[in-house]
Symmetry: C2
Subunit: 331 residues, 2 copies
């Protein structure tokens, strides 16, 4: 979907935990909490708090308040998406809850863009994840100290928020491509990168074909959280489709941490990973013109611990946002 | 949001379990399975199967195939919404996953309507719930035989699907009102009706005020799954707002089962409840003109078992769809 009138990403903000603050993008966060609880009693409540902090910071930067928002599009990884629901409580803004696993931030940005091009003036897109709440929900209680295989990823304790508006402030969202559910039969829940790479490839190649563009038209093509394993597989899959991702390709999961030093195996993951990297790192670079045309593809693995125990394979989905520092051009 | 060009609900279908087939709306289902498994090995897989069957039946009725769909908007109650993700696998249609608890069907219909008014030709809205998968996930394993208090509700084993299109076949979606997250402090997870009534009241009264209409302008105002307790509370709350819901008000949770005979305490609940009643019962009546103007408000309780154990109260959200048998009129 190419937007007839590109919409502005009016402002954005990112919030992270201690480990995220110690990574290469530490300086890009608007707020870093020194423990994992953000002053709350539980990790689940901490995740709601992160979303609130990210939203508040994004609103403050553009001089708007929550009451100026027409819609909130939000989601997270917790069962029943409670981080998002609880943080929207009290906002008095219509709330559209999403679940796209780790693809949620692009899903929220995409819907925000469609709405802001149409009926809405301002939309708020938010997503989050939390290492501690995700570990105990998806894998093992932290106290158990489960071993992590090399293909596993480290769920980011982070949240990103963006205000998407009808106005003239760069950067702009020029196009959105919602992805299809793809499943090539991966059933190892410690190898999410491999499970998600086919969906990223499907969305990216569909987008290139539909828009008659190719990887060289963009300064940066960035996936959400494929990690080292998934990023390599994506390059292979894209080559088969006839596209060379080349030097401009990166993955938020490889950007957030120093993999070896911070011991995150294949890289970062979680809704919060692409949400924070896009909001805190990529959008500001687009705003100042350091980046011109960027494709961001958040990737999600649509499994649950129950589906894995029931012998199901792991389908993936990937949603793409095409950003530009200028309102005209590209297409 | 009043749609400048109302969109058509081109077709719809409902699928249910044995108990749903024995209820007063049994004849309105397109497909009833005599056990709870729909030929699958687990209840979770059965729920995916229900969504597939509902989608297939809706598509068959309007002579379209899955490849004619531009987007799927879907959600369910299972952790990580696996029923929806797995049933969308293989469809090759862009998939937008939603989580709005039991409000999901109206959320999906609302987004489908906005998209079909704009860029899309055809959207598929789907939602489901399953008594057995919901009980073991939210409450107790069925084998435990937990007692049910009078305010509790019976999760419907059902799915509803609707094709929302740019065309001239009645009925039409004339307006959509996405709701805010409301929380008046209910913390009893066996009293979802009370937890959700405030959000239904907020959405309904906002809609009446914004459109300068009142309950007497509609043949039927139907909430999703407030049950007997929640429906009474909604009437009270609406009276305080100055609106008398009167004789035209009903609740899908009160329509699906014969409460006493079928032992469902306060009524039916679950995404599948409003999805099946709207798809199987209300839309056909609108199509033949037996109903003219209908407001359907699906209601969701945005809690998780974890949030309840952590002492959180239960916020609700309610999304409204305004249907009409004619393209013109009302507003």
């Amino acid at each position: 979907m190419i937007l007839d009138s590109p919409v502005s990403v009016f402002s954005s903000a990112a919030v992270g935990g201690k480990k995220e603050g110690e990574g290469p993008l530490g300086a890009d966060f608007d707020f870093i909490n020194e423990d994992s609880r953000f002053g709350e009693k539980t990790w689940e409540k901490a995740e709601s708090k992160m979303q609130e902090l990210a939203a508040k910071a994004a609103l403050k930067k553009c001089g708007l308040s929550m009451t100026d928002m027409d819609f909130i599009f939000a989601g997270d990884l917790l069962n029943q998406c409670i981080a998002s629901a609880f943080s929207a409580r009290g906002s008095k803004v219509p709330y559209i809850g999403l679940y796209g696993a780790c693809s949620t931030f692009a899903e929220a940005l995409g819907l925000s863009a469609i709405f802001a091009e149409g009926i809405a003036q301002n939309c708020l897109a938010v997503a989050s994840s939390h290492f501690c709440s995700a570990e105990r929900q998806y894998r093992f209680p932290l106290e158990y100290g489960g071993q992590r295989p090399p293909s596993s990823q480290w769920t980011a304790t982070a949240s990103g928020a963006a205000v998407v508006s009808k106005n003239e402030r760069p950067p702009f969202i020029k196009a959105v491509c919602f992805g299809t559910v793809e499943d090539l039969g991966i059933n190892d829940q410690n190898n999410m990168g491999a499970a998600m790479a086919p969906s990223a490839s499907a969305t990216l190649s569909t987008f290139f074909k539909d828009t008659y563009t190719d990887p060289s038209d963009y300064d940066l093509i960035v996936t959400g959280d494929l990690g080292a394993v998934g990023a390599e597989l994506l390059k292979e899959l894209m080559e088969k489709e006839g596209f060379d991702l080349g030097e401009n390709y990166n993955d938020c999961g490889l950007m957030l941490f120093e993999r070896e030093k911070q011991q995150v195996e294949s890289g970062a993951s979680g809704c919060g990973c692409s949400a924070a990297v896009i909001s805190g790192h990529i959008i500001p670079k687009l705003r100042c013109g350091e980046l011109k045309n960027v494709l961001a593809i958040s990737t999600g693995a649509l499994m649950s611990p129950t589906s894995v125990l029931q012998g199901e394979t792991i389908p993936g989905v990937a949603h793409l946002i095409c950003f530009s520092s200028e309102k005209g051009g590209i297409f």
